[in-house]
Amino acid sequence: MSPAGGTPGDLRGGGEKGRAEALLEVRDLGVEFRRRGAEPVRAVDGVSLSVRPGEVMGLVGESGSGKSVTSLAVMGLLPRRSAHVTGSVRLAGQELVGMAPRRLAALRGDQMSMVFQDPMSSLNPVVPVGVQVTEVLRTHTGATRAEARDEAEDLLRRVGIPDPRRRLKDYPHQLSGGMRQRALIAIALACKPRLLVADEPTTALDVTIQAQVLELLRVLVAESGTAMLLITHDLGVVAGLCDDVTVMYSGRVVETARRRELFGAPAHRYTEGLLASVPRLDGPRGEPLRPIPGTPRDTLPWSRACAFAPRCAYADVACADPGMALREPPELGGGHAVRCVHPALPAAAATAGAST
C-alpha cells in the first residue's frame, strides 16, 4: 500500500502558500434524493471543500444542513438507487464519484474510513469487538488470523482501551460508551487510512470522555498525517480541533475560513448568529441570550433567494438573488469566503486583530 500521508505536522498554521496539497478535493458536490411520485429533494448543492494531510476540516451545520449527507457522499455510502450524486470527489487524485462499487469498497476501510456518531448502532452487537477489528485487517491486508489478532490488540491499546487482550473477546454491549467509540476509532484506523471522516464522533459521549476522545483524534492527526473531515454541530469542538471550518446551511456552504478567522470575524449572518446564541462559560451572565429566530426548517429554496433570509435580521430585497455565489470580500483574510450579500465585515481597523 502507498505510504500514509507523510506530511509533517509543522505545516499546520503555516501560510496559505506553504500548505500541503489537498488529499481530499470535493468540487461542486450535489446530492439529490429522488423518489417515484415525489419531488426530488436537493440535500447537498454545490459543496466544495478540501482537506490536507495532517489537518482537520470541520463541517458545521444544524439538522438538515446536509453535512452528514456530504460525508456519506464522500465515502460513497449513499444508496445508489435513490441518491443522485453529481460533481467530483477526489481522493489523492482518484475520482470517487461514479467509481465502481467494488473498487470503492476496496478503498473504504483501507484508504479512507469513517467514525459514526452512535457506536452502538455501527458496531455489530452479536460479534465480539476483536473480530470486528481483525475483520478489517484481514480483508484489506491479507494478514493471518494470529497476525490480525496481535495487531488488533495493539490498536485497542493505542486508542486507550485498558486490558485490550481481554476486551477483544467482549461484545459491544459489555463496553461503556466511551470504550465503544474508541473501539470504533480503532476499527477505522486499522488499515492506517489517509482520510478519516468522523460524523459527530463525540456527540453521544459525556464531556470528560469527549475530552479523552478528542485528544486521541488530535494526537492521531498531528502524528500520522491523516487528513480528517470532522462533521459536528458543536462550535466548541471545532474551535479546539479544526484547522479550517466550513459552515453549511440548507445544503450549501455559506462560509469557509481558517479556524481563527471564522471565530474572530464570522462574516455570514448565520455563523455570526450561531456564535452569539450559545451561552459561554467565560461570557457575562444575567443577560438574555440572543437566539436566531425561527427554526432550521424555515428555509427558502436557494434557487429563489438566500435560504437563511427568513431568519436573518439583515435580509432585504437584495437577498432574493438566485445566483448568490461564495465570494471572498477583500476586508477578510485570504481564503475566507462567504455567501451573503450583507456579510458582517470587520471595520478596517479591526481587521488586523482578526487575521492573526
Partner: protein, 373 residues
C-alpha cells in the same frame, strides 16, 4: 466587571443569611434512591443495589433556579424524578413548603403534583402523538378538575399558547407538525398549565438545534419572572446551566460533590471533579482552546452498584492523595459563603499545594498513536 462582582457578593451574603428562612420552597435531606439488583427466576433474590442517589441534601429557594450538572449515570435524572416521586426514594426527606412529600398517600400526592411539574428532554416522546395540542394542554386541567369547565379550559389553553410564544392556531395541530423547539414549548406549556411552584426540567434543551436552544432558555427565564417559578434544571451542558442557574450543584456517582452560587462555582471551582469537568468543555473560541490546560480524567464512571470506598471520585482523581481519599468519605464542608465541597484536600488544591499527578494523565496520550508509517 467589578460592579457585577460586588453585586453578586451581596447576593451570596443575603442568601446565606436567609439560609434557614421561609424562602426555601423545597428542602431535601439525605435523599437516597436505591434500585434492587435481582437475580434468579423463582426466588428473585436481591443481590445488591444500584445506588443511583446516595444521600443528597438540597435547598431550592423560591423563585430561584438550581442547576444540577453531572455526567450520564451520575443520578441527576433519578434525583429529579425522585423529588416528584416519579421514582420512590428509599430514604431521606423531601419537604415542599414544610409538607413531607414522601409521606403523602396517593390522593394527596396527586393534588400536590399540581404544584410540582416536570419538563422532559425529548418532547417527541413525552407528548402523545395522537392528541392535538389543545387536548394535550387540557389534560392536566381536566385531571385536576380546574374550576370553570371546558370553556374556561379552552381560554386557558389559548393563554398558555400565548405565554410560550405559539400562535393560537397551534391548538388544533398535532405534535409532529411542529419543530423540536416548538414541541418543547408545548411541553413547557403543559408543565406550567396548573401554575405550579416548582418545575423540574430534565435536559430541557439538549435535544434541540443549537440556534434554537437559546430561544427555549430565554423562554424558561421569561416564564420564571412572569409566573414566579422555582426551577430545578438538570443538564450536562455546563454553559447552559451557568447561564440559567442561581445555584449549581455538581453530582458524581449519586452524591453532590460541590455546590455554590453559579458565579462563585464557575470562577472558583474547588472540587477536582468540577475542575476536570470545566476543563473538558470545549469553548467556541480558538484562542481559549489553544491556551487552556485540560485535566483529562482516566477511565470511566465506576458502577453505582459498587461505588468506590472513601471518596467516590478517588479512582479517577488526578489530585488523589495517599491518605484519606480511599478510605474516608469526605463530608460536604462550607469553604466560602454558600459554597460547599466534599473533598478532603479542597484547600490544598485551591491554593496549589497539590498538583495533578503526572501518571493520572489519559492513557490515550501515549505518544505513538495509530498510523505512523
Amino acid at each position: 466587571m467589578s460592579g457585577v462582582g460586588a453585586k453578586d457578593r451581596d447576593d451570596v451574603e443575603s442568601r446565606s443569611e436567609m439560609g434557614t428562612g421561609d424562602d426555601v420552597l423545597l428542602r431535601v435531606r439525605g435523599l437516597e434512591v436505591h434500585f434492587p439488583l435481582k437475580k434468579g427466576l423463582l426466588l428473585d433474590r436481591t443481590v445488591g443495589h444500584v445506588r443511583a442517589v446516595d444521600g443528597v441534601d438540597l435547598d431550592l429557594r423560591r423563585g430561584q433556579t438550581y442547576g444540577l450538572v453531572g455526567e450520564s449515570g451520575c443520578g441527576k435524572s433519578t434525583l429529579g424524578r425522585a423529588l416528584l416521586r416519579l421514582e420512590e426514594p428509599t430514604a431521606g426527606t423531601v419537604e415542599l413548603d414544610g409538607q413531607d412529600v414522601l409521606a403523602l398517600r396517593p390522593a394527596a400526592l396527586r393534588s400536590l403534583r399540581r404544584r410540582m411539574q416536570m419538563v422532559f428532554q425529548d418532547p417527541m416522546s413525552s407528548l402523545d402523538p395522537r392528541q392535538s395540542v389543545e387536548s394535550l394542554l387540557t389534560e392536566p386541567l381536566r385531571a385536576h378538575d380546574v374550576p370553570g369547565g371546558p370553556q374556561a379550559w379552552r381560554a386557558r389553553v389559548l393563554e398558555l399558547l400565548e405565554v410560550v410564544g405559539l400562535p393560537a392556531s397551534a391548538a388544533a395541530r398535532y405534535p409532529h407538525e411542529f419543530s423540536g423547539g416548538q414541541r418543547q414549548r408545548i411541553g413547557i406549556a403543559r408543565a406550567v398549565a396548573l401554575s405550579p411552584d416548582l418545575v423540574v426540567a430534565d435536559e430541557p434543551v439538549s435535544a434541540l438545534d443549537v440556534s434554537v436552544q437559546a430561544q427555549v432558555v430565554n423562554l424558561l427565564e421569561e416564564l420564571q419572572e412572569r409566573l414566579g417559578l422555582t426551577y430545578l434544571v438538570i443538564a450536562h451542558d455546563l454553559a447552559v446551566v451557568r447561564h440559567i442557574s442561581d445555584v449549581v450543584g455538581v453530582m458524581y456517582l449519586g452524591v453532590v460533590v460541590e455546590q455554590a452560587p453559579s458565579d462563585e462555582l464557575y470562577s472558583r471551582p474547588l472540587h477536582p471533579y468540577t475542575l476536570a469537568l470545566m476543563s473538558a468543555i470545549p469553548v467556541p473560541d480558538p484562542a481559549a482552546e489553544d491556551a487552556r490546560e485540560r485535566i483529562l480524567l482516566t477511565g470511566d464512571l465506576p458502577s453505582p452498584a459498587d461505588p468506590p470506598p472513601g471518596c467516590r471520585f478517588h479512582t479517577r482523581c488526578p489530585f488523589r492523595q495517599e491518605t484519606r481519599c480511599s478510605d474516608e468519605v469526605p463530608r460536604a464542608r462550607e469553604l466560602a459563603p454558600g459554597h460547599t465541597v466534599a473533598c478532603h484536600w479542597a484547600e490544598d488544591v485551591r491554593d496549589g499545594r497539590i498538583t495533578p499527578r503526572a501518571d493520572a494523565s489519559d492513557p490515550t496520550a501515549t505518544r505513538e498513536v495509530a498510523t505512523g508509517s
